[in-house]
Amino acid sequence: MDAQLPALVIVVPLLAALLVPLAGRRAAWGLVALALLLAFAGCVRLLVRAHALPEGEAIRYALGGWAAPVGIEYVVDRLNALVLTMLSGVAFLVALWMRRSTAREIRPPAVTGYYSVFLLMAAGLMGITITGDVFNLYVFLEIASITAYVLIAMGRRRQALYAGYSYLILGSLGATFILLGIGHLYMATGTLAMADIAAVFAREPQLYDSSVIRTAFAFFTVGLALKMALFPLHGWQPGAYAEAPSATSVFLAATATKVSAYALYRVAFTVFGVRFLETGLPVVRDALLVMACSAIVVGPLLAIRQHDLKRLLAYSSVGQIGYVVLGLALHNADGLTGSFLHFWNHAAAKGALFCVAGALAYRAGTTQVAALKGLGRRAPLTAMLLTVAACSMVGVPLTAGFLTKWYLARGALEAGQWAVIPVLLASSLFTAVYAWRLLQLAWFADEDGPVAEDVPWSMRAPSLVLGAACLVLGVAPLALPVAQAAAEALL
């Protein structure tokens, strides 16, 4: 069974997603949780195995028994094992978290369908991550996208439809660009397997000068930037996060854009290769650097002005994705390590924050920031969660967020990009401003908000795990060795 793990971690959620519509409502939730638990266990096992592998090797799984260029191959190395574990872990926690929340936010007959779509999205995101084939990546990107549109559109307010719709339009545009990129890539190399394409590049370095390859890379970059809501292509994101049902927001915000960022890393480093970034098309690198930096600054600035907690968090995500991309733009070991750490760090922090928003929606029926008033008294654990996660977002030392900034700053200094440092600091300051506003309301408000008591334990416990992760990841460097090894392997 161990050998079959790479396939199973994807297939099991898929299978469950197909069975859920046939199962009853109660059994459905159990199935979701079980499937995601199994997937998580599998991913952890894969992470352990991948980390134990010698440098430069990966776990390979040939789907259909056809080895790579002929068939589709799953490749698990340290980097994507890291992302996979994050994905399945968050998905599992959200699955635990969402039972009560969906019961309140989703119309009862649609709940099983919602679960099914949720599982499909989780499987889709994991599929994007695990695959070693550019076209297969696109297929799972489609699954993840379509499900995301609907998971958003199922929000209770009318605006949810609009939010889902605008994501649909922009997401499809992005997906189209990615497909164009794949097409160009295939045209120039004649193969779709990532490793094989890389081999072609190694064999024929003159391909780097080909306009086909350059166009392909540009398409990939723009398409994935759209999908990951990289400033200034983030237009779809705030509405989507704000209007979606709580469980969707938690999962989407914690994982979705990061997977696109991961895909960009894969494409840039594994497929095109570092040399292409350095010599082939350096302008893209500079453009990414500028975009990442503007995202890092502008995201929190926009967040400061928001009155809706989910919208505020969404804008903050706009900034946070900048951190994830920054490593790519710096492309040295420290910068990459910082970005890879951020996959986990931000997932934990943003997941926890959206859990707070979900708790607010559950208890208060609103996600207005003002509803946080008195949270510290009525729901102290949730308020603690908010505090810890917000500190992590700011990058307070001893929380996970600090490590990200530390490595990114090191990477920036190493790369000679001094200007990045003020950007990082400014972003921390802006983040501190809105985090402070939230905490102020939660702990130091005089009058009480609409929250009467804390959410049920079935919601509290999973979200606290995320909050604890913010602290644990900040003190005990669980992900660090893997992230560092992954960064070094990419370069």
Partner: protein, 208 residues
């Protein structure tokens, strides 16, 4: 011959864009799909042509029309199905607001779209500079040792299927096809979820 088909395609596309009546545009797009499929077949991509015909000209036209019909009902007044209305309405309002306001933003939606299309076209043209010719045996996708050659040579022996496309889709890259099937499933499920849930729901009745 291809030039003629392409010219017709461009003309049809322009006609579809120019038509304000979405019903007509959908019909024109159906014809567009048929000719597109012809082009695919002309390039010997039979399965693609087949799919384009069956889906592009058939089902998707019908679905487009159904959607247009639903949305078009907004002119009718009360008792209207609410689906999709907010989205398109908002868009319409947005456009109306843009038209009325003298200080409209630098880039209207239309300019933006034009910009995107223009840039994409420019990129495609740039990319076409070094593209191999269609059917060029020396092209990376066709040359000896390429995956395509492998498929052509081994597919019948591997799977006993005469049409190479089928084993490529169903066997060598069967996993992709599984993914696509799941996409279809997802799409249907999603539409069911959204459309059967179209009525407004305010949550369970007990006080939160």
């Amino acid at each position: 011959m291809e030039d003629l088909i392409l010219a017709i395609l461009v003309a049809l596309a322009l006609a579809a864009v120019r038509l304000k009546d979405l019903l007509g545009a959908a019909a024109v797009l159906g014809a567009y799909s048929l000719l597109m499929a012809l082009l695919w077949c002309r390039m010997n991509a039979l399965d693609v042509g087949f799919t384009e015909a069956a889906v592009g000209a058939g089902v998707s036209t019908v679905l487009l029309l159904a959607a247009v019909n639903r949305v078009g009902r907004r002119e009718q007044g009360p008792g209207v199905s609410p689906l999709l209305k907010p989205a398109l309405w908002r868009l319409a309002e947005h456009r109306a607001a843009l038209a009325e306001r003298p200080d409209r933003p630098l880039l209207s939606a239309r300019t933006m779209a034009l910009l995107v299309v223009g840039l994409t076209a420019a990129a495609l043209l740039y990319g076409a500079r070094d593209m191999p010719r269609i059917g060029d045996p020396a092209a990376p996708a066709n040359r000896a040792g390429s995956v395509a050659q492998h498929y052509l040579r081994h597919a019948p022996a591997d799977t006993g299927a005469a049409n190479v496309v089928t084993p490529v889709l169903g066997d060598y890259r069967g996993y992709d096809t599984m993914g696509e099937t799941i996409v279809i499933f997802t799409a249907a499920l999603c539409v069911v979820l959204v459309l059967r849930q179209a009525g407004r729901w305010r949550g369970p009745k007990e006080a939160p």
